[in-house]
């Protein structure tokens, strides 16, 4: 009997509680000040990143400017002329630099300029025209390297930052999202490009595409612009980092 009484009391209490809860809910949804907490304030309080400055600080020093110079065949004594302009990413402490093949092809001499002002002459370790990747090597102490994580593939909608040296105006960070992954059939049909709407222009080629943690997810390539030389139209491509290795 005692058990039955207890059960009844509990059921009663629950019913009462549910009614009260329902009333409370209706009232709170009518109250206007609950909707005030949306919008910008969520940017401040919601824990979302207010700035990409941290990510930039992690990755930007490891993105170098690349100048490929060629010596005039007919007049070899002449000063070598600038043949290609691009960017490159320092991958390891021992000086391996990843860039686009098209940035350094036909180059007789490759100069790599770091953000701290140091300049190096680089050697080509290997290159692959099909994937448009090339690995260079420089000799230097205390080289900044880019953090990367091969187990964290980019997804459509991820916020990304492109770092490079467009038109040789100096290091530039642009922001966008991953617009598509697995794009292929653009040139060789061999690659699965990442597509992004971050502004990528001539000179960004070989530069880094990073996520909001500052980790490398791709190598930007401005060579496959849709509609010729029209940079910045919101359709740019990057080679996913998993192709490296």
């Amino acid at each position: 009997m005692n058990l039955k009484d207890t059960c009844i009391y509990i059921v009663k209490a629950m019913t009462f509680g549910l009614i009260m809860a329902a009333v409370f809910l209706v009232i709170t949804s009518i109250l206007p000040n609950h909707s005030l907490n949306t919008g910008l304030s969520s940017v401040h309080s919601g824990g979302a990143e207010l700035s990409f400055a941290k990510a930039v600080r992690r990755a930007a020093p490891a993105v170098a400017n690349i100048y490929s110079l060629s010596i005039d065949q007919r007049n070899p004594l002449n000063a070598s002329s600038l043949q290609g302009l691009g960017s490159g990413v320092i991958m390891s402490k021992d000086g391996y630099v990843l860039t686009n093949y098209h940035v350094i092809k036909k180059a007789d001499e490759i100069v790599i300029a770091l953000q701290d002002g140091r300049k190096f002459t680089a050697e080509v370790v290997g290159s692959d025209p099909v994937t448009d990747l090339a690995v260079l090597k420089i000799e230097g102490d205390n080289l900044p390297i880019v953090p990367f994580n091969l187990n964290n593939p980019a997804q459509v909608g991820d916020v990304v930052l492109a770092i490079g040296n467009p038109y040789n105006i100096g290091q530039t960070i642009t922001q966008g999202i991953i617009s598509a992954t697995g794009r292929n059939g653009l040139s060789s049909g061999y690659l699965d490009f990442l597509q992004t709407d971050a502004a990528i222009n001539a000179g960004n080629s070989g530069g880094a595409l990073i996520d909001t943690n500052g980790e490398l997810i791709g190598i930007n390539t401005a060579a496959f612009q849709v509609g010729g030389d029209n940079g910045g139209n919101g359709i740019s491509f990057a080679i996913p980092i998993k192709l490296y290795s």
Partner: protein
């Protein structure tokens, strides 16, 4: 006892059941799958009324030489020059920086040569604006309108922004009407682009197009960080590379324009170059960025403050600088008389030096800017005219026959009493000019070619 228990459990249930859905309900519009979805709308509602459109009209006067063929037909009395007047219209943007006084900042290139400036406010009002002053070299102009109920933009210290911060551009691209675009700060202290004489730009990838000029670049709090001014545009439109003049530089210029009606450029009196890798190596320095001082002009602000050739200027008022150009732009826009603290490296040691900037109009060393043939002369305003206080041997000024102690009193047939007037008079002169000079109480003419 049991009633108490039931009440207690009822209250508990009420609390637990009602609290949970209340939280999730408030969070729904803020999040997609647990991640916050920010909107700039609340900030923009407060900020956009402070950004206006600027419509200008005027007449462009272009002079053309009449071709010799026509002169043949018209005889010797034919006009030498054909003056063409073409009406022009232009569109840009502006930012209200003082609602009470109606001050609006825009780019000089938006209003340059305009006879009529109309401001279009966010609420639809159209008001004629008065030009208070402009600075060509930094591309800033100050306008004023007489209107009530204006909204001014919020201010902040633009030196605190970092690469990677969000940036929002507000303006009037292509005359479409007010447009908001977003991006991030792509780079800071950008100079050497050859767009303006004095460059120290914030670079952004927020879309900026023709008509955005003079508009606002704001942070996520709606505070002004820059005035959008220029873009790199290989195809004529935005490619994600835009440039804005930092708000702090704008404020310095605007303060001077309000006070004097013009910008009184601050002069330090050094010449130099960027500190680069080779130079740093040669001097055995750790630092790779800064302005290297080649030469300190005698009697200049730098000289008085104790700067020396070979010093490397690495910071201004505690903010590090990257290049000599940045130093130049910052110093020139700080205004004459400004007290500035320079961080320098001398013989490997860090030091700070305080200087009071000189005024550009009292040129003491840069006479070469006035006229190439005056190079090497040190000019100073005096009671009689413009006195040559010093002259370098073998310099162009000495070669044209000028001597120390000469006083320039006229140019061609015009009387000249100040350096400023001499500068203005020489601007219109293309070929050779005759300087009227007072030497030992004798008047004579010297011809500069």
């Amino acid at each position: 006892m049991k009633t108490k228990l039931s009440l207690l459990s009822a209250a508990l249930l009420t609390a637990s059941l009602s609290l949970y859905p209340a939280v999730s309900q408030a969070a729904i519009p803020q999040a997609v799958e647990g991640q916050a979805v920010p909107s700039l709308a609340p900030m923009l509602e407060r900020t956009t009324p402070a950004v206006v459109s600027v419509a200008v009209s005027g007449t462009q006067v272009s002079k053309q030489r009449v071709p010799d063929v026509f002169r043949y037909f018209f005889g010797p009395n034919a006009p030498q020059e054909q003056v063409q007047e073409r009406p022009f219209r232009g569109l840009g943007s502006g930012v209200i920086i003082d609602a009470a006084k109606g001050y609006i900042v825009t780019n000089n290139h938006v209003i340059n040569g305009a006879d009529d400036i109309q401001i279009g406010l966010h609420d639809g009002r159209e008001i004629k604006a008065k030009l208070i002053g402009a600075d060509k070299e930094s591309d800033i102009a100050l306008l004023q309108i007489d209107a009530k109920n204006l909204t001014e933009i919020n201010q902040t210290d633009s030196d605190n922004i970092r690469v990677g911060d969000f940036a929002v551009a507000i303006g009037n691209p292509f005359g479409l009407g007010q447009t908001v675009t977003s991006g991030i700060v792509s780079a800071l202290g950008r100079s050497g682009l050859g767009i303006e004489m004095l460059e120290n730009f914030i670079q952004t990838d927020a879309a900026i197009n023709s008509g955005n000029s003079g508009g606002a670049l704001v942070n996520l709090n709606g505070e002004l960080i820059g005035i959008n001014t220029a873009i790199v545009a290989p195809n004529g439109g935005n490619v994600g590379i835009g440039f804005a003049i930092p708000a702090n530089m704008v404020h310095n210029l605007v303060d001077q324009i309000i006070e004097h009606g013009e910008v009184r450029r601050g002069v330090l009196g050094v010449s130099g170059r960027d500190l680069d890798n080779e130079l740093a190596k040669a001097f055995g320095l750790d630092t790779q960025h800064g302005g290297f001082v080649n030469e300190v002009m005698p009697k200049s602000a730098a000289d008085k403050a104790g700067l020396k050739a070979g010093d490397i200027i690495v910071s201004i008022n505690g903010r590090s600088i990257k290049s000599f150009q940045e130093l130049r732009a910052k110093v020139a826009t700080m205004g004459a008389g400004a007290e500035v603290e320079f961080g320098i490296i001398r013989d490997g040691d860090k030091k700070t030096i305080n200087a009071t900037l000189g005024e550009a109009d009292k040129v003491e060393a840069e006479a070469g800017n006035v006229h190439p043939m005056l190079q090497g002369a040190t000019l100073e305003d005096s009671k009689k005219g413009i006195e040559i206080t010093e002259i370098a041997q073998g310099s162009p000024a000495a070669m044209s026959g000028l001597q120390e102690g000469d006083v320039i009193v006229g140019l061609n047939r015009t009387k000249i009493s100040s350096l400023k007037a001499l500068k203005e008079a020489l601007e219109d002169q293309q070929s050779s000019v005759a300087l009227k000079i007072l030497r030992d109480n004798n008047l004579l003419y010297l011809v500069l070619r």
